[in-house]
């Protein structure tokens, strides 16, 4: 089951990695659908 466990760890790593990369590339909903004149959050 080593391959399966490695794959499950890879899924988690890919998920966090994808989120990090997409956030940094400006693909967050805030970056895409908002502008500097819009205040989001607090």
């Amino acid at each position: 089951m080593k391959a399966a466990l490695t794959a499950f760890v890879a899924i988690a790593l890919i998920a966090f990695g994808a989120n990090l990369v997409l956030q940094n590339l400006g693909f967050s909903a805030e970056d895409v659908a908002s502008g500097p004149s819009v205040r989001l959050g607090d």
Binding site: M1, K2, A3, A4, T6, A7, F8, A10, I11, I14, A15, F16, A18, N19, F27, A29, V32, A33, S34, G35, S37, V38
Partner: protein, 413 residues
């Protein structure tokens, strides 16, 4: 005045009317009717506003020709001067402006970017909402529940498919570590995506009443994060599995024989098969085709409004006449960015339901349904007798190629 003079005057008057410079033809006169006038002509009883019949028809979900309202969005040419009363409205009353926004013809500038930013109102959402909360959930649940029930019935009737012959105690490698990694990358991510997708679809209806709004909100936000980000592992797994196994899953003559014998269910004994039998090939191509469709519609949802694909697809389908042939009529070829997303969401869900049902069957046969099957993806090595029974041609090919592939029995991990 004589009768002759009367006639002359009338003829002259008629001539002048008929010959006036720039006189419009009957057709042009129709075209020149102001939108307000046209609306009044279309709905005289309400002075151009929609009637009770219009509203009721719309509520019944019937198609209402709303051109009479659509076009009444003001007239800049007849606007009062800027200094005059109401002049600043530019010839359009407030209702005219709202109508322009309502029907997407207003000239809107937004501080935010993106194709959807300037669509302030879109009325294509109710049927989607109702379909999503109604038939989609209902028939999706029937499909998944029905599949589980059928598998349970099959198990009760047929029991576990055992290894017929005597076990040899020898193992043969069926899938190497990379193949198993690819499979579990796809399988693991699919299970997570399936669970979080079902939470997103059914949560509002079934989980909020149980957990309350606050708790469900946290769950929904977490589900969305997981669903969005785990999707990449699924896509990678899909590509890996396709590349690794497509060659072994090309249809061949053995598949016909295998299918005719119902994979061994309709006969005594086992029909010969290569590395993958026809049943596994059906699973493989279902995963590839449905999985790719889910991935593409998912990408469209991941990057909202950036990858619209339904209007262009509908245009092509309409051109070949397929929707008309199956009674769906002409599909919409012009839609707002939001409607594109609504179609993407529905398609994504429907195809996912079908693939989940297929995968239920795959999980069943790969675990409780068949003795010795799980080892193939567990530690990668299967009992030689199992391989002979279910994949006889594959074992023969392997034995011919490499006698060393067989090795001594090792205890299962």
């Amino acid at each position: 005045m004589s009768v002759f003079r009367y006639v002359t005057v009338i003829v002259l008057a008629l001539s002048l009317i008929g010959l006036r410079p720039g006189g419009a033809s009957a057709q042009e006169e129709t075209d020149m009717i102001a939108p307000e006038t046209e609306a009044i002509m279309a709905r005289p009883s309400t002075g151009g506003a929609q009637t009770l019949e219009d509203i009721l028809a719309r509520q019944r979900g019937e198609e209402v020709d709303d051109r009479f309202r659509r076009i009444v969005t003001g007239d800049a040419d007849s606007a009062a001067s800027i200094a005059a009363q109401l002049g600043t409205l530019g010839g359009a009353s407030d209702p005219d402006l709202w109508r322009a926004m309502r029907y997407g013809s207003a000239n809107i500038t937004a501080t935010t970017s993106g194709p959807a930013a300037t669509v302030l109102m879109q009325d294509g959402g109710m049927w989607w909402l109702e379909f999503r909360e109604g038939p989609l959930q209902k028939y999706g649940a029937y499909l998944l529940g029905g599949t589980v029930a059928l598998l349970a019935l099959f198990f009760l009737l047929k029991g576990r498919i055992r290894i017929d012959g005597e076990k040899t105690g020898r193992k043969i490698e069926r899938f190497n570590a990379i193949e198993r990694f690819g499979h579990w990358l796809l399988a693991g991510s699919f299970l997570v995506l399936g669970a979080t997708g079902l939470i997103s679809l059914f949560g509002r209806t079934y989980l909020i009443p149980v957990f309350g709004h606050e708790a469900f909100s946290d769950l929904a936000i977490l589900s969305k994060w997981v669903h969005n980000n785990v999707s990449w592992a699924f896509m990678l797994g899909l590509v890996m599995v396709f590349v690794m196994w497509v060659f072994h899953n090309l249809p061949d003559r053995t598949d016909v024989n295998w299918l005719l014998k119902g994979g061994g269910l309709l006969i005594k004994g086992h029909p010969p098969a290569r590395k993958f039998n026809a049943g596994q090939k059906l699973i493989f191509w279902s995963v590839i085709v449905l999985g790719a469709s889910i991935a593409v519609s998912g990408l469209s949802l991941l990057f909202p409004f950036e990858l619209p694909m339904f209007a262009v697809t509908f245009e092509k389908l309409n051109a070949i006449g397929l929707p008309q042939a199956v009674g769906l009529g002409t599909l919409p070829e012009m839609m707002t960015p939001h409607e594109e997303m609504q179609y993407a969401q529905l398609w994504h869900s429907i195809v996912s339901f079908v693939l989940i049902a297929v995968i239920f069957a795959h999980i069943y046969i790969g675990s409780v349904g068949m003795e010795g099957a799980f080892d193939a993806m567990g530690n990668g090595e299967v009992e030689l007798q199992w391989a002979h029974e279910h994949h006889s041609l594959w074992v023969e090919e392997l034995e011919a190629k490499n006698a060393d592939a067989l090795k001594s029995a090792t205890p299962a991990e």
